[in-house]
Amino acid sequence: MNRGIAYYILGRFLQSVMVLWIIVTLLFLLFRLAPSNPLASYIDTTFTKEQEAALLARFGLDKPLGEQYIIYLFNLARFELGDTFSYSGKSVLDILSADLPNTIYLTLSSLLVAYAVGVLGGIAMAALRGSLFERVGTTFTLMTRAAPTFWVGMLLLSFFAFQWKLLPSAGIGPAVVRYRWETEWDKLMSPVFWRHMILPTFTLALYLHGLPLLLMRSNMLEVLDQDYVTMSRLAGYSEWRVMIHTAARNAMLPVLTALTLGIGYSIGGNVVIENVFSWPGLGRTLVRAVQQADYPLAQGAFFLIALIIVFMNFIADILYSLLDPRVGASAQAQVS
């Protein structure tokens, strides 16, 4: 049994590595074969030919494309993402490792809120199927999914930050406070940081809660039609037990997978919200890097986001096979 699961995990892992390799290759081709010279913004018109050549050599751009590709792969494997063009030549890794935690805090806190509300809401919608509450609730949820997040963020900002001046409007804290945060732990312990988190988290959660809610609702409706649910009714279990212990438990499985996938996709999708709230995360850095034609940084940020998504897709697959014995079994049956 364990051997089956182990093979399954190994197989999935290899597949993820392969997917990542293809993505990285596409990324390389995109950046190197682009019509514009990657150094175009860096190279001044006043540069001499020699200076230009030296610069190309510094970034390894003078070598043949095949060799560049090999070096690029090796560097990625060792997580060496090179130096930025802007940010006075700081290394890409430095910038990204400062951004990543902020993105993760925002993503996790909003997903947590969204899925808690979504799962409970989904159960309620399924239980109250056909009622006024359900109709109003689903319409509201649809509206939150249809409203552009940045617009919702702007509205919330203009009320809470500018009209009523209840919450801060941008960033993770004033420079004087940030100065005192020596470690991530200091940051997390700071009420200032949390005050800055409220609005972006709420905005994101408002958008994100729709998926788990609608998914939970439809899963519940499907599970409630299953024979084993009828059976537990026939067995005289209380309605609460039938709904929560049997139906909701089984309906949760796909939602948990969606949550795992959601972590990956949100990290990539927070781009817009980070820009509205000037949140110093991966997304805002990516946008800036592209605007300033800082290719190493843009490439690094994109790579990091893709890496997280592929990794979370991998985790979601594994999680599902562990949670649902049937999936694990089909993997196992292939081996036994």
Partner: protein
């Protein structure tokens, strides 16, 4: 004293098309220690009755009148909580499709223990002990408590559900179709478990089924339901020997019976009445061969007609005479029935068409058609089809994608080295438990699959090398009839479109000719008047009608060869016989070579000249039907025949000598594939291939018992048998 007493119960379903009176005035008593079998066709209200008793009717269902007394308590007066408390502790229900009644993501043991602890008030330790006892009781290994439902076979799941039903020692057990969809051997064992439990625990059981032989095996009394009413109630023995209602008579005659084979089965023509507007007189009148004028006006009441027997028939006084007449299938075919599609319902019962007697007129729509085959009609003695050492293997997993997905390549040996021949006009039956390769063989025969090894010769040409026109010609000459009529027709096509498709594919350019052929074929399969059916969609027809359309589509190209894969297993007993009779009659008239695939030996005995028994992809026995059924040679065939329930309570099936559970067909055997389960296993069976022994009637069995190794030492069933003989 009666445990359950139902009086004048009426249940309504509100549907968009009107109110359906699903249960209409049912009165029924179940006494303590009694085992009552409730028989009826689908849609007669038996499951609704069950749902009404335990009050789990769907939202649109409503009890409108009557009383349900349980141990002196009026159940309809109970509050929701009181009703809930009653369930399972007093009345345990094994629902239909109980295979899916176990939660797939919880271990079976924890489900059982949860039930004991939450509903039975057991503590953890006691619950564990009780769970183990229960598994013992139903014949399951206690280690199985730790397994998930998907690790159980169908029979094991059914046992587990029975264990759950007995967990709280209910005073009444209601089982809805407990053995439907199980293989005969498993079915036999489940019935045995039920029978033993009945005796051991003095259970009171109400068993709901469409299969009268199941009732004969485990029940001591019988109630027959028709169109929302009880039409007959009696003790089992008198019921089976002398039914007292024409419907019961028909049901009994419609069942193929291994012990008493008959030339033609009785088919109860027509369909149950529309329960939105039930007829004012007897509800069976329209389909009854003994109908009198008064039957249409007077609604017969359920009355005492003898010693402790109830029947609802105006002519119950003459039942003796009727019974003797009922043996004749021709009598039942005379019934005038509406051949209209059942949905939408006929507005009045007057739109009836005279179903004609005897042979149908050939080619009513007379256009003789261009690509007309010469083989249409006339039985030839030469060989049409030959299988030579045919094998079919499937690979699961493997390949680059499989490697990446973590799948390992595995080979399933679905069909192993089988050989047989089929003459023109001959019919051959393929039987065996599910997974024995009979359906794969069927697909190979019509080239839905290609053989991995060996040759399939059709009129001398190897199917593997057919190309272009030859392939198209083969496609015209061989056809397949499917198990599930509800899936066999494109739901988006009208029947005309479905039937005309094969003609279009084979280049019939003239619309009028196609129409003529379609009408002619519909007429042949007794869908008359054919014109009525042309514009209908599949969902507007009943299962029996649909299966006739499927037959018509198979015949519309005038093929020479037909494979019928479980042609009636999805249909009600009363219509089964009609389909079988029509198929058999047409095959004879048209000189069609037919291969029937079925798990039901009595059906094959009825329809086939020869029968082949398959086990793990091999043919272990083949021969003339009467020989295989009456004089089975192979131990597996003997077991299969012994497992078929007999619709007669006085004949008890012999105890089975083999266990359920076919090994996975992923192994190849050096010796006999059946050695692992064989009750007569010998040393030679493990590593020497059994020889094919044929007698003078071309009756072949592949078994060491009749070969040179017949004196090989016997083995006790045990560890040494289950290991070691795989390659």
């Amino acid at each position: 004293m009666s445990i359950l007493s139902i009086r004048d119960l009426k249940v309504d379903y509100a549907t968009q098309e009107g109110t359906v009176q699903a249960v209409d005035g049912v009165s029924l008593d179940v006494d303590e220690g009694q085992q009552l079998g409730l028989i009826g066709e689908s849609g007669c209200g038996k499951t609704t009755l069950l749902k009404a008793i335990v009050q789990v009717l769907p939202r649109n269902g409503r009890i409108t009148a009557g009383k349900i007394m349980f141990n002196g308590i009026d159940m309809l007066q109970l509050s929701k909580t009181e009703m809930r408390q009653l369930r399972w502790r007093e009345i345990a229900t094994i629902p239909q499709a109980s295979m899916d009644s176990l939660n797939p993501v919880q271990r079976v043991g924890s489900q059982l223990m949860k039930l004991l602890r939450v509903r039975g008030g057991y503590d953890k330790r006691a619950a564990r002990r009780r769970a183990a006892d229960l598994f013992d009781l139903v014949g399951l290994d206690t280690e199985r408590l730790m397994h998930y439902p998907h690790e159980f076979s169908g029979g094991m799941k059914q046992r587990a559900v029975i264990a759950m039903a007995l967990a709280l020692e209910p005073s009444l057990l209601i089982a809805d179709e407990p053995v439907t969809a199980l293989d005969v051997i498993v079915q036999h064992q489940i019935l045995e478990v039920l029978r033993e439990l009945e005796q051991e625990l003095n259970l009171t059981v109400m068993l709901i089924t469409h299969d009268i032989s199941v009732v004969a095996q485990v029940c001591d009394s019988v109630a027959v339901m028709y169109a929302g009413r009880i039409v007959e109630q009696a003790a089992a023995e008198p019921f089976f020997h002398a039914p007292a209602h024409p419907y019961s008579l028909g049901l009994q005659q419609a069942f193929p019976n291994l012990a008493r084979p008959r030339d033609e089965l009785v088919s109860i023509e027509g369909y149950p009445p529309d329960l939105r507007e039930p007829p004012s007189g007897c509800r069976f009148a329209e389909r009854c061969p003994f109908v009198q004028d008064s039957c249409h006006d007077i609604d017969p009441r359920l009355e005492l007609v003898g010693d402790n027997r109830l029947a609802a028939c105006l002519r119950s006084g003459e039942m003796e005479t009727l019974r003797s007449q009922a043996e004749d299938p021709a009598l039942w075919q005379q019934v005038e029935v509406a051949q209209e599609p059942i949905l939408p319902p006929p507005k009045s019962p007057s739109i009836t068409t005279r179903g004609d007697l005897g042979a149908p007129p050939l080619a009513t729509a007379s256009v003789e058609t261009p690509p007309s085959p010469s083989q249409w009609g006339g039985v030839d003695d030469d060989i049409l089809l030959e299988m030579r050492d045919v094998s079919k293997r499937f690979k699961i997993g493997g390949g680059l994608a499989g490697l990446l997905r973590g799948d390992h390549e595995q080979t399933v040996y679905a069909v192993n080295n089988i050989s047989f021949t089929l003459r023109r006009g001959e019919s051959l039956g393929l039987a065996g438990e599910s997974g024995c390769g009979k359906s794969t063989t069927g697909k190979l025969l019509v080239k839905l699959l290609d053989a991995s090894d060996g040759e399939i010769l059709f009129d001398g040409a190897d199917l593997a090398h057919l190309e272009q026109d030859d392939l198209l010609n083969f496609r015209r000459r061989s056809q397949l009839m499917f198990q599930n009529p509800f899936e066999a027709l494109n739901p988006r096509f009208t029947l005309y479109r479905s039937l005309t498709e094969p003609l279009i594919i084979h280049g019939w350019k003239d619309e009028q000719q196609r129409l003529g052929r379609v009408i002619e074929t519909l007429d042949r399969v007794n869908l008359r008047p054919a014109e009525v059916f042309l514009d209908k969609y599949p969902h507007q027809l009943s299962g029996g009608q649909l299966q006739r359309v499927v037959l018509a589509r198979a015949l519309v190209l005038h093929p020479d060869f037909l494979v019928a894969d479980e042609p009636v297993s999805m249909l009600d007993v009363s219509v089964r016989a009609g389909i079988l009779n029509t198929t058999r009659r047409l095959a004879r008239e048209l000189g069609l070579a037919t291969v029937y695939i079925s798990h039901d030996l009595s059906l094959l005995q009825y329809t086939c000249d020869r029968i082949a028994i398959m086990y793990l992809g091999e043919i272990v026995e083949i021969g003339p039907s009467s020989g295989v059924i009456n004089n089975p040679q192979h131990p597996y065939t003997q077991a299969l025949i012994a497992a078929v329930p007999v619709p007669d309570p006085t004949i008890e099936n012999p105890p089975l000598r083999i266990q359920e559970g076919i090994p996975r067909p992923t192994e190849q055997f050096i010796g006999c594939p059946f050695a692992q389960r064989c009750p007569d296993v010998m040393e030679a069976c493990l590593d020497i291939r059994p020889p094919a022994i044929t007698d003078e009637y071309s009756h072949m069995a592949q078994c060491h018992l009749y070969g040179d190794h017949r004196d090989s030492p016997k083995l006790k069933r045990g560890a040494e048998v289950t290991s070691g003989n795989t390659r």
